[in-house]
């Protein structure tokens, strides 16, 4: 691990004041769990007693035989009961998460917004074809500012698309992960896209557009990524052999995620499709001060190091 990463590891560790704050939340945590338990029991009893009577009423008095109604209503009721039961836990997690992320981001020189709404990044990432078309999106956890002197904007984004199959419509996740925009020190004019390797389908991507396939020398890099650019020389100017190695390293850092990168209008855009939520407290079952869930949450903030240090973005090097 690099020196910078070690330093950041210390930076994301909780300080004495934060630990004391988490300890002071112990009674709130227990109260949230208690409310959750009683609401869960209440909901289960309510569902188990009301649903058979409701189904009997539907069947005998209203003579409804449509399975969508018969199974749909209980499903909606179960979802409602689950949401009702989980609400105190969710509210407690959100309160803890917001404060911790805000404070630790502040140490890095970043500002944190829990619910940022539209950030403009979604549209930009769609324009450069780093994400596929979506019909709706939801942003959470935005970090903005300068990390190690590099202007940075990172947001967690969940994009969905509505698909119609016959009479049914369903929502399909097209992207769930992190969108990051960072300033890039080298000057460039065109657009270069580093996307995941699609094997035989590579030849058909961007066919007819102004992006041409760029074949690079590094076989490891070529095995993971495919590069398309409006300028063959500029693509190689940006993707030096050393930078290619760094991208491979970054990709191996996010083991189960797909990393895609674009150089566009002076910025380096990175889409990390993890297909799962980020910056969440997994559980509040244990006391927070020494909870692994809290450690996991703060460790996730090492992502800034992973990107800036791994890609060596602070240096304007020839390699």
């Amino acid at each position: 691990m690099s020196v910078a990463a070690t330093l950041s590891e210390k930076a994301v560790a909780l300080d004495a004041r934060q630990i004391a704050w988490l300890e002071s939340l112990e009674s709130d945590r227990l109260a949230a769990l208690k409310t959750w338990r009683s609401r869960a029991i209440l909901s289960a009893i309510g569902l188990l007693s009301a649903l058979p009577a409701f189904l009997y009423f539907l069947d005998v008095y209203l003579q409804v035989s449509d399975p969508r109604v018969k199974f749909g209503i209980p499903a909606v009721a179960a979802f409602g009961a689950y949401t009702f039961a989980m609400q105190p836990v969710r509210a407690f997690k959100s309160r803890v998460k917001s404060r911790l992320l805000s404070e630790i981001a502040g140490r890095f020189g970043l500002t944190y917004t829990a619910r940022p709404g539209g950030t403009g990044l979604e549209g930009r990432f769609l324009d450069v074809e780093l994400v596929s078309a979506y019909t709706s999106f939801k942003n959470e956890d935005r970090f903005q500012g300068h990390f190690q002197g590099i202007p940075l904007d990172l947001v967690e984004c969940h994009m969905e698309r509505i698909r119609f199959t016959g009479k049914r419509t369903r929502r399909v996740t097209t992207f769930r992960g992190l969108l990051a925009r960072l300033a890039f020190k080298k000057r460039f004019r065109g657009r270069t896209l580093v996307t995941n390797d699609q094997g035989l389908f590579n030849s058909f991507r961007f066919m007819g557009g102004n992006l041409g396939r760029v074949k690079l020398e590094d076989p490891v890099f070529e095995g993971i990524f495919e590069v398309y650019s409006t300028d063959q020389v500029e693509a190689r100017y940006l993707l030096t052999p050393a930078f290619m190695e760094r991208l491979v390293e970054l990709s191996s850092h996010f083991k189960r995620a797909t990393v895609r990168v674009a150089f566009d209008a002076g910025d380096l855009l990175i889409a990390i499709d993890k297909r799962k939520p980020s910056f969440e407290i997994a559980s509040i079952a244990k006391p927070l001060a020494d909870s692994p869930a809290i450690k996991e949450l703060t460790q996730e903030l090492l992502i800034f190091d992973a990107i800036v240090s791994t890609l060596n973005l602070t240096q304007k090097t020839r390699v």
Binding site: K186, R187, E217, Q232, V233, R236, Y237, T240, R318
Partner: protein, 193 residues
């Protein structure tokens, strides 16, 4: 009718294959020429920058006069360009440019031995521009080498090699680094001064 169709296929399929190979070969040659012209654009930018650096160097450096004169000489010969259809001439041209690159690195490195100079700011600025152009040359060289390798494979591998020899299409030389650049860097040389 069946015979006519058979004859048509017997002639048509080989002709289509030959045409396909011919098109691919010409595409590869044009790609290599295109890549070469992109190097040329960058080399011209560098040749335009060199006089500024040499002017500062002449004012400042007393021990590197030979080096400066050699770069001036090479720059003049490289400015004449090369006939891209003549691989030998093209190779000499690329070698000259590689030598300029190597000598210029020497001049820029030696400049640090003159910390008292009043041209520090101008030289630093020129050095930054020069390094950016060098990075673009390096990128253009990688693009050219990739295209030249594609062409070389097509020219040397059967069956396109037959068409290449018939059309007198020859492989283009690779842009290689100079002998000086191949030498390992000796830290002792830096401390010796």
């Amino acid at each position: 009718m069946a015979v006519a169709l058979g004859e048509l296929l017997a002639v048509g399929i080989p002709a289509a294959i030959l045409f396909f190979l011919y098109v691919r070969l010409i595409q590869k040659r044009n790609a290599a020429l295109g890549a070469l012209s992109s190097i040329d654009v960058q080399l011209k930018q560098r040749r335009d920058l060199i006089p500024n650096i040499l002017a500062i160097a002449k004012e400042t450096m007393t021990r590197e006069i030979e080096l400066i004169e050699r770069v001036t000489e090479l720059r003049a010969s490289a400015a004449a360009g090369a006939n891209v259809k003549d691989p030998e001439m093209l190779k000499r041209y690329l070698d000259t440019e590689a030598e300029i690159s190597s000598l210029m690195q020497g001049i820029l490195a030696s400049f640090e031995n003159y910390p008292e100079t009043r041209f520090i700011e101008a030289m630093t600025q020129a050095q930054q521009s020069y390094e950016e152009v060098e990075a673009h040359i390096s990128a253009a060289r990688r693009f050219y080498n990739a295209s030249a390798e594609d062409l070389k494979n097509a020219v040397e591998i059967f069956p396109s090699s037959l068409i290449a020899s018939f059309l007198k299409i020859r492989a283009m030389p690779f842009f290689e680094i100079s002998e000086a650049d191949r030498k390992p860097v000796s830290a002792a040389e830096f401390f010796a001064a």
